[in-house]
Amino acid sequence: MKAGEIIDRIKKNLGAPWRDATYRDTYKTGGPDTEVTGIATTCFVTLDVIRKASAAGLNMIIPHEDTFWSDRDDQAIVADDALYKAKIALLTKHNIVVFRIHDHMHVQRPDFTYVGSARAIGLDPKHENPPGSHRYVIPETTLGALAADVQRRCGARALRVVGDPKARVSRVRLGVGYASPPINPPDIDVLISGEQQESDGTFDSQPYALDAATLGLAKGIILLGHTISEEAGMLEMAQWIEGFVPEIPVQLVKAEEPLWGAAGQ
């Protein structure tokens, strides 16, 4: 089966119109004519993911995120980089075709990134109100206990928290990746998301939560890291693709959390 046939089936099954204007959801290496032996979904096309996919007999990689270290996969800025050349050589050696699915994954309903993230950190669908809102009302707990529970469930080594560990919280807003909703609305106690610029953006949730804590207000942010936040849902993505591409193996090949955390004082 050729890669182009798989992409056609993805577009047909998406449940939303394909937007050709996307610069993200395109081929990064290989093309529609590449013969595919199997499909790996992942968060990032790391060197390790390429090796693992290839070892498993999979030569099509469908990542949620970029391959060449920038959102646009701008190969001009890395053209002279030795690591870029090595990565291209590895992709070529294993005849890998990479097609990113980002924008259309977030347009799809449900958005598997939210489904996977909620599952990974233990947010119960029955607490989501209304369904699909990414807003959860959980039994009241403390920010410290919630963060410890989330950390234990998802295994994140580099998770970070802002806010008073003793703050009483129950209204959770889930974000994914870099698309973190702001923490300031009065009906949100805790934001759980992947990655969020620390300051100088359109709204800086960490400084806001820091000041809220100083003022004694119950606001907290739990940052899982980009990969922990969005990779879980690539399992659902693999299962979805498998449903309409039954001819070849489809599986999640995890990029895994790239970061580890240092103990504080």
Binding site: F44, T46, L47, D48, E65, D66, W69, S70, D71, I77, V78, D81, L83, A86, K87, H102, D103, H106, V107, G144, A148, Q151, A158, L159, R160, V161, V162, V176, Y178, A179, P181, P182, N184, P185, P186, G194, E198, S199, D200, T202, F203, D204, Q206, P207, L210, D211, A212, T214, L215, L217, L223, G225, H226, T227, P258, G261, A262, A263, G264, Q265
Partner: protein
Amino acid sequence: MRVMYTRDPMTQLSRREFTILAAAASAAPFALDRPVAAAATARELLDRITAQIGVPWKADTVDGLKAGEPATVVTGIVTTAMATMAVLQQAVQTGANVVISSQPTFYARADARTPPAPRGPGGGPPGGPPPTPPAAAAPDDPVFTAKNAFIDQHKLVIVRLSDHWRLREPDPLAVGLAQAMGWTMHQVSGDPRRYDVPAVTVDALVAAIAKKLRASGGIRVVGEAKTSVRRIGLLPGSTPIQASLKMLPEVDAIVAGEVREWESVEYARDQVAAGHKKALILVGRVLSEDPGMQLCADWLKTVIPGLPVRHIAVGDPYWRPAR
């Protein structure tokens, strides 16, 4: 009205030219060379900073007055990486009424004293459908309200100094971070961002950074804990992939403030996976910039002699549950 000018800071001639230009152009002329009396105003402080920062003042900049009255008589100056509530409280306790902040005070680059209007329910992710228009006018926000009330009550003046401070040479944020780490003697000639330190394992280096910068858990690392590193590169603040592409191949470890995970974190991960003995240590944006704002306090003492100036650190905004 802000005076726009370009100037070579090294020559007295250009300073005299500037003074003449400033006197001619400004609605409120001032004399740069007179000793500062106890009655210096925030406006005079701002004008002196503008005149002496050493780089042309930008027309389009985040720097400048963010809160307070320019006519306020300065009682003391505090520099900080971020004018948080805690920093403002400490500033007041020390008798200061002017705060010079590297990062925004009001939780956005726009740095407005009013909260943003809430987004509608369909606020879209990048690449998704456009966010729906604001659902309603901004409600009363307790954090904005309390911070504004504190600023007004204590008649504080808050100035952002970021764009221009980091353009100074040598890079004061890098110099400050190196000083905080005790690496100044190890500087690679002529480069404030490069230090060759005695060989150290990544985990020992991270522990030293956590101790010196008083990290409470915000530090994150790419690389093997037992990799030995010697060549250190500094990227304080927030930096794009281009900075890591240039620096990481030439060093063993980068100590950075904040990067985008899909850029530099993944690049560093692939470097390690390719067999290179590299590490990327992320300390956080604010934690990485506070040492440079200590240098800003030292500099301000020369800009406006006779006024008390001190630095107050924000501290690590983050913590991590015990494992």
